[in-house]
């Protein structure tokens, strides 16, 4: 028998036996909606948690030369930026206070950081241009504090012993996670000068242990006390634990929902087979093979299951959207496929039973 005609017969049978078909629709819809509302929410929560754990602020590694031993050279900063675990990296100098060059010592002080590395890695230029030697860019907050309306002007060190000044050539906004730089100015660190810290934004929190080890190897501090490290290593461990726990919980719940639903589909299909044994016996007598009977019974279940999956998925998406925890689309597609697979698999035992029944017993009229 041609496959499309088997499908035709199966769908006609499903339509003719509306009660068991409706029960399969309801069951599979419930399986899909329940899976999305429970396991799907877990998956959405896991995704949201991982997003938060993986935000730029949660994956920053800072190694500081607290003893000022000139351990962090510009070359080391450049090498750190090139590591595979590094999304971006810059070296920073300890901030110095600067004042409006026109006003002088009496003016409001704002911090100024010397930066070695790509300035676009830490800031977005809003106006003007990137600074060269003895030039700086300022944040809007810093300009307001300095009393500068536009990006024109200059600043000088607010120091009684040292003198240095920078022309303001641009306005910036700090990029995450360098929000602390929003308070002041940025200027290119003098060429060749050792930095006080290297700040690395990692590709993910999970690579923190490896990145930390790599950075420390590059710096090669003479003693552990020479450096201060701020690292998301513990955060990486937390991320792994949370992911594992949520995945295990989700898997158990999914198996329970699909298992219970599948069992009920088996019962409904078996009941339908028993009610239709005369029909199935007739088909065998007229030339249907055992394989055709199995296909008819399974497809007759899969047809309504498809409708149920569509309805249940729609309902599940609506519910999870209302609760603000919509699962990823890959999860939704996977749920539909699993529900259909569970329904089809659950129909196989009754199908085999139907295919192996003696048709003569049901055809003989007493």
């Amino acid at each position: 028998m041609r496959p499309l005609l088997i499908l035709r017969e199966a769908l006609a049978t499903a339509w003719a036996a509306k009660v068991p078909s409706a029960l399969v629709v309801v069951l599979v819809a419930t399986m899909c909606a329940a899976t999305l509302a429970t396991v799907g929410r877990t998956a959405a929560a896991e995704a949201q948690l991982l997003d938060r754990l993986d935000s730029a602020g949660s994956r920053v590694l800072i190694v500081a030369d607290t003893a000022r031993n000139e351990l962090i050279t510009p070359t080391i900063v450049d090498q750190t930026a090139l590591l595979s675990t590094s999304e971006r990296a810059v070296g920073t100098l300890i901030p110095v206070d600067v004042v409006n060059g026109v006003i002088g010592d009496g003016g409001t002080r704002v911090p100024a950081w010397g930066i070695h590395g790509e300035l676009p890695a830490v800031a977005t230029l809003l106006a003007g241009r990137w600074p060269g030697p003895q030039e700086a860019i300022a944040s809007r907050d810093a300009l307001r504090a300095l009393g500068m309306d536009e990006k024109a002007g200059w600043v000088t060190l607010a120091s009684s012993t040292l003198a240095d000044d920078w022309s303001i050539v641009g306005v910036f906004e700090a990029r995450e996670p360098f929000d602390d730089l929003e308070a002041g100015l940025l200027y290119p660190a003098p060429t060749g000068r050792a930095l006080d810290a290297v700040r690395v934004v990692l590709t993910s929190a999970s690579v923190a242990p490896a990145a930390q080890a790599q950075a420390l190897r590059l710096i090669s501090a003479p003693s552990p006390d020479a450096l201060s490290i701020t690292s998301p290593v513990s955060l990486a461990a937390l991320q792994e634990q949370v992911t594992s726990d949520l995945a295990n919980f989700g898997r158990t719940l999914l198996l329970a929902v699909l298992g219970a639903g599948g069992l009920l589909v088996t019962v409904i299909t078996l009941a339908d087979v028993l009610v239709r044994r005369t029909d199935l016996g007739r088909r065998r007598a007229l030339g249907a093979t055992r394989g055709v009977i199995v296909a008819l019974v399974v497809l007759r279940t899969v047809g309504p299951a498809l409708c149920g999956a569509a309805i249940g998925t729609g309902l599940g998406i609506y519910l999870t959207a209302r609760l603000g925890a919509a699962p990823p689309w890959e999860f939704t597609c996977g749920t539909v496929l699993l529900a259909l697979l569970a329904a089809a698999t659950s129909a196989v035992p009754p199908a085999l039973y139907a295919a192996t029944r003696d048709p003569v017993r049901v055809l003989r009229t007493p």
Binding site: A16, A285, V360, T365
Partner: protein, 216 residues
């Protein structure tokens, strides 16, 4: 050509064997009535010949070939392509139209839907039931249902037609119509050879009309 050789069958191990080693050659182009007291295996013989049951001993030969011991898939294919069944209560699908019931064996035999529909309509028209094609079995009479069942048995142009008490539930007029249709079917086989038609019956009217009688 349909024949049996040393045929015996028992429903259970140790139970009484039916047919007692029957050897018989059924005549193509003729109606053979299979008769006997109740319990002698009239219907069972038809189911064995129709390859729904496997004999304990002996063989069912179709054109000289033993098909009774073939695998189920082969027997199903032979049943679909070479054998037509007419059951006592017509056994039409109450949820489908008359035409869908007629074309069912053709689909199992591998026909396309269009081919099967064309053949089905031809047969229904020949039987005077063309206007009933889109009706359901519950909307036609018992005699019409049995003639629809005969159309179903003929849709694949089979070599053999097995009818189990086809007139059991019919009045004399309808029984005569069905017998006439079976007789026409017997005479209209492929390549002018005629079909082998077997009727399991205890109806004296049918036995009287048959060309041959096999008493079990």
């Amino acid at each position: 050509m349909l024949a049996v050789e040393d045929l015996s069958f028992a429903y259970r191990k140790g139970a009484e064997e039916l047919f007692g080693g029957l050897t018989y050659e059924f005549t193509a182009g003729a109606i053979t009535a299979v008769t006997g007291p109740s319990g002698r295996g009239k219907s069972t013989l038809l189911y064995v010949l129709g390859l729904l049951l496997t004999p304990n001993r002996g063989a069912v030969l179709l054109n000289g070939q033993d098909i009774s011991s073939a695998p189920d898939t082969v027997r199903s294919r032979v049943r679909a392509q070479r054998v037509g069944f007419v059951f006592q209560d017509s056994a039409l699908d109450p949820t489908r139209t008359v035409l869908d019931s007629v074309l069912e064996p053709a689909l199992y035999a591998g026909s396309t839907l269009a081919q099967a529909r064309r053949r089905g309509r031809e047969l229904l028209n020949d039987m005077g039931l063309g206007s009933r094609a889109d009706h359901r079995p519950g909307e036609i009479s018992g005699g019409q249902a049995q003639r629809v069942a005969l159309c179903r048995a003929l849709v694949t142009d089979p070599m053999v037609i097995l009818a189990d008490e086809p007139t059991g539930n019919l009045d004399r007029d309808n029984a005569a119509r069905v017998l006439a249709a079976l007789s026409a079917a017997a005479g209209s086989g492929e390549q002018g050879v005629g079909r082998t038609v077997l009727i399991a019956t205890h109806d004296p009217f049918v036995i009287e009309q048959a060309d041959e009688v096999l008493a079990l």
